[in-house]
């Protein structure tokens, strides 16, 4: 993240992109030294490469890929990526092809983020224009948020580690970004495809349907609709063309249709590939069921494994419900408060999911940190940015150290590792809270500019 400069010309942008790709390729050539694919921070039971290879092997030998509770991903990934797990080129690192696929997925995601960021920036400028705030806010100082977001995504150590660590999260992230990109540029079939695939790969992406509906219904992020009305009341001319469009149901129904179509398609494909091995029910049980019941308690950077290792068996179901409803509880209030900024809402949802999901990895953090880059202009006055940054650096260094103390040296114990997981969760909470309040402050500031009230000093 340090590498992101304030002003990035397009030349420098491509330089950084190539540099990050080259850096990944260099790392891919030293997989043995780093041993990243066995780190608990990188590969969870859902995204682990070894499990994918195991599932593929099971399927090749005519057994159910879900046998033995090893593989918990999608059967489509098995058919697409499975062959890459055994293909080898002489004299090259073992999983070169697979790593290349991850690198490509990362680059595609970054490009999609860039395009979406440019969309968002244009929409923001347009809404400022229609609010007549262009003079008051120096538009020329505006940063190219798309470039910055793409670079944050590409240069983020978390993304690099997830990519080099052979986890499947680059592909999951790409599906999420595809969905948001499609919704922003109003490519409804693409958005539906992205949403269906993202939901299929990891259950939590399902709640992205709310921001996507807002995006399709009212267009990309803009200041609250109330502001436009106030502005025009002041001028006492109600220019309908300058108002943001009202919520329109047409694209949403269109989206629902496409989403239905794609999900049927995906399910049929899965059904075909699992025909002999128990069919779709088996798939749901060992993918979504595995996610929801938190069966695997091996340590990761989340907080659930420790909790469910401690909890009594007869309370388990109760706490499972509590933890999952936790996510659902936050959906509605946030959706109401941030409905005029659907992309930001999507960022908040992704961040909350990566905090509360049952098997989080650094790949999830990479996704929301990348999405955060879209809003550099709006979040310019976010508080605690240095604190958060130092916290992220500290935790990402401390976590491997604690793991080492616990597993290899034997001088620590599980509590050491869990402590870093808790700090990490707290950091994410602070990030989300501060981010949301900074965004609301930004809206308030715009309102003050319109009404001519003095600047709120607290911003």
């Amino acid at each position: 993240m340090e590498k992101v400069k304030k002003k990035i010309g397009s030349f420098s942008f491509w330089n950084w992109v190539t540099a990050s790709i080259i850096f990944r390729l260099i790392l891919i050539y030293f997989p043995k030294n780093l041993n990243l694919s066995s780190r608990p921070e990188v590969s969870t039971p859902l995204t682990s490469f070894r499990r994918l290879a195991e599932g593929y092997w099971l399927k090749q030998s005519f057994m159910s890929p879900y046998a033995g509770s090893m593989y918990h991903g999608s059967p489509l990934l098995l058919s697409l990526l499975g062959p890459l797990t055994i293909n080898r080129i002489e004299g090259q690192p073992n999983h070169l092809l697979y790593s290349l696929v991850s690198v490509i997925a990362d680059v595609v995601s970054a490009m999609l983020i860039r395009a979406t960021g440019q969309n968002l920036r244009l929409a923001y400028l347009r809404s400022l224009e229609s609010l007549d705030l262009v003079k008051q806010i120096e538009v020329s100082e505006f940063l190219f948020s798309g470039d910055i977001a793409a670079l944050i995504y590409l240069c983020n150590p978390f993304t690099i580690v997830a990519c080099v660590g052979l986890s499947t999260s680059p592909i999951e992230n790409m599906a999420v970004i595809l969905c948001l990109y499609g919704a922003c540029s109003r490519l409804i079939p693409l958005a539906a495809f992205g949403w269906v695939i993202a939901t299929h790969l990891s259950l939590y992406s399902a709640i992205l349907i709310i921001p996507v509906i807002f995006l399709l219904g009212c267009g990309p992020d803009s200041p609250p609709r109330k502001l436009f009305l106030q502005r025009h009341q002041q001028k006492e001319v109600l220019n309908q063309s300058k108002l943001p469009p009202r919520f329109s149901w047409g694209p949403v129904i269109h989206f629902a249709f496409w989403a239905f179509l794609w999900s049927v398609y995906v399910l049929v494909l899965c059904g075909i590939s699992l025909k002999q091995f128990g069919g779709l029910w088996e798939m749901f049980k060992s993918t979504y069921g595995f996610i929801l019941t938190v069966e695997d308690l091996s340590p990761n950077i989340g907080v659930l494994w420790y909790f469910f290792a401690e909890v009594f068996e007869f309370f388990r179901n109760f706490f499972l419900i509590v933890f999952h409803v936790n996510i659902l509880f936050m959906i509605l209030p946030l959706a109401i408060r941030l409905r005029h900024r659907p992309c930001y809402l999507a960022f908040v949802y992704v961040a909350i999911c990566s905090m509360l999901k049952s098997y989080p990895s650094v790949g999830d953090s990479a996704l929301y940190l990348g999405l955060l880059g879209w809003f550099v202009n709006e979040l310019a006055d976010m508080q605690f940015s240095l604190f958060l940054f130092c916290g992220y650096v500290g935790v990402s260094l401390l976590s491997p150290v604690m793991h080492n103390l616990w597993i290899w040296r034997g001088t620590g114990n599980a509590n050491f590792y869990f402590a870093t997981a808790m700090v990490y969760a707290c950091l994410q909470i602070v990030l989300v809270v501060e981010g949301v309040s900074a965004m609301l402050n930004h809206d308030r500031k715009l309102r003050n500019l319109i009404t001519g009230k003095p600047q709120d000093a607290k911003s």
Partner: protein, 710 residues
């Protein structure tokens, strides 16, 4: 609207209602100078208080008590041991060039006892600086391929299978032995081990297998033990993957011959294993000694400051003192023993304790001044060896595989008569027997007691909960100062804006300034990151330089310096000359740079305290004052007051002292006199610190060094 107005009004006045914790935070930040002075002093003081606060050790598990049963080692076993010592010191056995004869003798003795015997051939492997070793598992080190048949060592391994055991666990007894030039002490240690071994073949209580490893120490004790452990812990399943000693014909012949000459079914050429190791004892007998009583020195520090479980030391200490009447020693910094200031400090503490006791009789925390001085000397050496990260003996190899191990060095009062020799054999053997019996009775690994502690005497320790307080006090100012600098930098930029512009213009300029304000630290973070990157490169360079063959230490040091400067220049030019940029803007930005640096140092020190406390403590002692005092020289020169001049001098001195080569020379100069210091020595020293901690230490230090001179 009214709300916002109110808020803006209330911002100008002190806010009436602020939450107490926020108010506390603001208070601390605004008084960070006094706060940091108080904290640092308290931190240093708490460090000196540690010997007073040390607790007595205790054996935390009843399962460890059987060792104190009356020993079964009798004079019969001792005379067996004596026989072995005689055979080994017999000049006939030293006739062979490779020393294979003495190994044959030992093997024959082991076979006679009914133990399983095997030889382990190994090639000495130099410790290599491996940058990522810390995060990987211990056995992932690659084994070198370029073996030569000329240099190899032979470990003799004897294994007793426990009559009641299931073969899942084992206790290891190690005696280093150099067959080519063995002193009398080494032979004596073999004698002690043999007498215990001969006892253990007969006892009925044995539940864990006993492995006796006679480590061939002609290439260093550590190397031999480490090679054997590597082989033990990483089984090779295919014979193709071991292109090692078996390729060499002469070695093979020797062993063939050996196999025929010894007519025993229990001898095998292949590698023998027992179960997982519960603990390991390394036994040594020192040759010369001037002391007047028999003492035992315990060495416990393994690589990276890891310590074995305190219970192991407790058992040894308890049995040695209370059963065998031996004096137990741990390493001390002898130079501190005679220092007068320490003595007076101890007296102050003692008198304070007396005053406290007279005030309230239940306060009993004082210790006598002499004891305090000894405790401090022991503590200092404990800190020093842990911080160095270099194991103090062959036991260090075991800790890498999570096996608790210590080295026992018996230094007998020196005389040559036979009675004395028997006495040492008897008492040493009984001590070993007791320890083995205690460990043998354990059902699980050592876990009851501490792994993180510092010793102040063999029977006193400071646990992690106590010594962390001193460290926490020492580094507590860092986040405070960082926060106050950060807040200052932000608010000052605000003030200047507010003064210069009319109220109507605030809205115009504010948007601009805000965009920079909140994320302005990114520039300084970039600078700090680049310097850290450079530091990392510099500290990784020795790894590559050590690959160059045939380099004298001095030349490789020169190469290192050259490459470091080169890499700095490259980084400078590639990454848009961050240092030059920073210099131009440093007048305004230095506070932010300092704040980011201090936070990064805080993170680094916090990390180090988890990995290796002693390094972190010593690092903090050096770096905290440096971080807090650091200020650009230009500003100081311009200010021209006496205070800033003093600060400048402090900065320069601290910056130079903390620069590792300088620190090394100072230390060396103090210890040996300045005459024989040499750059090559520094290279050797760095090479010896192949472990991870030195690297971190280097690069954290680099950063502040650069900035204090910015």
């Amino acid at each position: 609207m009214a709300e916002t107005k109110e808020k803006s009004l209330s911002d100008e006045k002190p806010k009436p209602r602020v939450r107490p914790i926020v108010r506390l935070g603001i208070f601390l930040i605004s008084h960070s100078f006094h706060f940091s002075v108080v904290c640092c002093t308290a931190g240093v003081l708490a460090l000196f208080l540690l010997p007073v606060l040390a607790k007595n050790t205790y054996i935390s598990e009843n399962a460890l008590m059987p060792g104190s049963a009356s020993p079964m080692l009798s004079n019969q076993h001792v005379s067996d041991g004596n026989r072995l010592v005689k055979d080994l010191t017999n000049p006939n056995s030293k006739s062979s060039e490779t020393g294979i004869e003495s190994h044959k003798i030992i093997a024959q003795y082991m076979l006679d006892l009914g133990a399983e015997v095997s030889f382990h051939k190994f090639h000495p492997q130099m410790n290599q600086f491996h940058p990522l070793h810390f995060f990987s598992s211990p056995d992932s080190g690659k084994i070198q391929e370029n073996y030569s048949c000329s240099s190899y060592g032979i470990n003799t391994v004897g294994i007793i299978r426990a009559p009641h055991g299931d073969g899942k666990e084992a206790i290891v007894l190690v005696t280093p032995y150099n067959a080519l030039k063995s002193g009398f002490g080494e032979a004596l240690s073999l004698g002690i081990a043999y007498s215990v071994f001969s006892l253990l073949t007969q006892v009925t209580w044995l539940a864990k297998d006993i492995i006796w490893l006679v480590a061939d120490s002609q290439y260093g004790e550590y190397a031999a033990v480490a090679a054997w452990l590597r082989e033990y812990q990483t089984p090779k399943f295919s014979s193709l993957s071991t292109p090692n000693a078996e390729m060499c014909p002469d070695v093979n012949n020797l062993f063939e011959l050996k196999g025929h000459s010894i007519s025993g079914s229990k001898f095998s050429n292949s590698f023998r294993r027992a179960g997982t190791m519960a603990s390991a004892l390394v036994l040594k007998v020192r040759d010369q000694n001037e002391q007047f009583e028999d003492t035992i020195s315990i060495y416990a520090e393994a690589s990276n400051g890891q310590m074995p479980n305190l219970d192991l030391i407790n058992v040894v200490n308890y049995l040695a003192v209370h059963r065998q009447g031996l004096r137990v020693n741990v390493e001390k910094l002898w130079s501190l023993l005679n220092s007068s200031w320490l003595k007076s400090l101890g007296e102050i503490f003692e008198s304070l304790a007396k005053v406290a006791k007279s005030l309230y009789p239940k306060w009993k925390f004082g210790i006598p001044a002499t004891e305090y001085v000894e405790g401090t000397a022991t503590l200092a050496s404990s800190l020093y060896y842990q911080a160095l990260g270099v194991p103090t003996g062959p036991h260090g190899a075991f800790r890498d595989y999570q096996v608790d191990a210590i080295t026992l060095e018996i230094s007998p009062k020196f005389s040559l008569d036979k009675v004395w020799r028997n006495d040492i054999l008897l008492r040493g053997g009984r001590l070993i027997e007791g320890v083995i019996r205690s460990v043998n009775n354990l059902l699980e690994k050592f876990h009851q007691s501490f792994f993180l502690y510092l010793l102040t005497s063999p029977s006193k320790f400071v646990s992690v909960g106590v010594y962390m307080i001193a460290f926490a006090l020492l580094i507590a100012p860092l986040p405070m100062v960082a926060a106050s600098l950060y807040v200052d930098a932000n608010s000052s930029s605000n003030c200047s804006k507010g003064d210069s512009s009319t109220p109507s213009a605030i809205t115009d300029t504010d948007e601009h300034s805000i965009a920079i304000r909140s994320w302005r630290w990114l520039n300084s973070a970039k600078l700090v990151f680049i310097v850290h990157l450079w530091g990392a490169i510099v500290s990784l360079l020795p790894y590559f330089i050590s690959q160059i063959p045939d380099c004298s230490p001095t030349t490789s040091f020169m190469i290192w310096v050259l490459l470091s400067i080169l890499s700095l220049l490259t980084l400078n030019s590639v990454l848009a000359s961050p240092l030059a940029c920073a210099k131009a803007t440093q007048e305004k930005e230095w506070a932010l740079v300092k704040s980011v640096t201090i936070s990064s140092v805080f993170i680094g020190l916090g990390l180090m305290s988890v990995i290796n406390f002693a390094t972190a403590e010593i690092g903090a002692l050096l770096m905290v004052p440096m971080c807090l005092l650091a200020q650009p020289l230009k500003l100081d020169v311009r200010a021209g007051t006496l205070r800033s001049f003093c600060r400048m001098i402090c900065n320069l001195v601290l910056g130079h002292i903390a620069f590792p080569p300088a620190a090394f020379f100072l230390l060396k100069g103090m210890l040996d006199g300045f005459g024989n210091a040499n750059v090559g020595d520094f290279w050797m020293w760095v090479e010896s610190l192949w472990a991870w901690n030195s690297a971190t230490y280097l690069f954290i230090v680099e950063v502040t060094y650069i900035f204090s001179h910015g």
